[in-house]
């Protein structure tokens, strides 16, 4: 079952959006509860998993401490256990500096492991837009890496 198999992925992305594990858990639970209540609305037009992700991402955005401020400081990312601190710092700065849509696309690509079609369904945009959005995010990371190596 999707809930059981992917709960940890849902929780991780919700935690990145809300900044708190407690709120993230609530977002996952409420997201699934909302899907149960509106299950008749699913027409099978897109991937089921994308439909679920959309509900959870929307719920996580609602649960944000300041739901209308779309700022996301780098400190809200949980700490890492690996030793490459400089590289970690660059990645954190990169994620923190991304505009909202690029950041969401990065989360869904790398932390939810979704393909471009599913990401497009979650973000309600075209597949080409997802490709362009991720490409812009990657370019920004390359620029930041070049700045550091200078």
């Amino acid at each position: 079952m999707l809930y059981r198999e992917r709960y940890r992925h849902f929780l991780r992305v919700a935690c990145l959006i809300t900044g708190e594990e407690e709120r993230a858990h609530d977002a996952v639970q409420e997201g699934f509860a909302a899907l149960i209540r509106s299950r008749d609305a699913y027409r099978g037009e897109g991937p089921l998993e994308a439909w679920v992700w959309r509900a959870i991402v929307n719920e996580a955005k609602k649960q944000r401490r300041n739901p209308l401020a779309l700022a996301f400081p780098d400190q809200t990312l949980p700490s890492t256990e690996n030793g490459d601190r400089e590289r970690d710092r660059i990645l954190r700065t990169w994620i923190a500096s991304l505009p909202e849509r690029q950041r969401m696309a990065v989360y869904l690509r790398y932390y939810a492991d979704l393909d471009y079609r599913a990401i497009a369904a979650v973000l309600a945009v075209k597949v080409g837009t997802v490709s362009a959005t991720l490409s812009a995010a990657h370019n920004r990371l390359r620029e930041q890496l070049q700045e550091v190596s200078r």
Partner: protein, 255 residues
């Protein structure tokens, strides 16, 4: 797929590993779904009554009377460029945002604002890291009433942008939680600036806030042309949460 993706995937995985699934609970999901259904029916009826009352009140010209009493629309300035106008409306579709006005500009940041169909106010800001203005803020009902009465407000948006309204002031001093910056206030009373928190230390045991505190406030003090302080408005609340080892887990921002 980009050639950068495989390496990036592995690095990001290390940066934020999968959490434990200790709270997995399907029964809780089902309970939440059931308990909401009954409440939804009651809420829908109550919302209908409230909506009718609101329409009558608004239709009766309460908003118009208030704005005439207190001095008119605070959103004065040139019309926003079409791209920023569209970006602000796309940010919060449910609010049915009207056309945007460019309110202030400072050090590469621009503040845009517009009224909503229900009489509220929404704002967005462009910044060097967010040139399209994909982040913004819609003010609370209390702040909307303040703006109707030409009172001061302050808020945060994306890319560390902060903005607000400080009529009669020549500058605003943003301070607290390790932030200490001064930004000019435009002639129309609006301002935009940066309110970036200090970065965490490498050990993550110490709070980024001054004196290692886990809670702090950022305020905007408006200063008149003669140097006198005119008032103070809260920009945001900063709250640090820690894991069981005392390491900083998150730094949350609230309004």
């Amino acid at each position: 797929m980009s050639e950068i993706e495989p390496q990036l995937r592995s690095e990001l995985e290390q940066l934020v590993p999968l959490p434990r699934a200790s709270r997995l609970n399907w029964d809780d999901v089902v309970d939440r779904a059931r308990s909401r259904r009954g409440r939804q029916l009651f809420r829908r009826r109550r919302m209908l009554v409230v909506a009718i009352v609101l329409v009558l009140l608004v239709g009766g010209g309460v908003a118009l009377a208030a704005s005439e009493l207190f001095g008119g629309d605070p959103l004065t300035g040139p019309a926003a460029p079409p791209s920023n106008d569209a970006a602000l409306r796309a940010l919060f579709p449910p609010y049915r945002i009207g056309h945007a006005t460019q309110l202030a500009e400072y050090e590469g940041r621009k503040l845009f604002g517009a009224r909503t169909a229900s009489g509220g106010y929404c704002f967005s800001a462009t910044s060097p890291t967010d040139p399209k203005g994909e982040g913004g803020h819609c003010v609370s009902k209390a702040d909307a009433l303040k703006l109707d009465a030409n009172g001061p407000v302050a808020f945060t948006m994306s890319g560390w942008s902060a903005g607000g309204y400080a009529p009669g002031a020549s500058e605003v001093r943003i301070s607290g939680a390790g932030i200490d910056v001064t930004v000019p206030v435009a002639e129309n009373g609006w301002w935009v600036g940066v309110a970036q928190l200090p970065l965490l230390g490498a050990d993550r045991l110490r709070s980024p806030l001054p004196a290692g505190q886990d809670r702090g406030f950022v305020v905007a003090r408006s200063v008149g042309p003669d140097g006198r302080m005119l008032g103070q408005t809260r920009v945001m609340t900063v709250t640090v949460t820690r894991d069981h080892n005392g390491r900083v887990l998150t730094v949350g921002l609230g309004s």
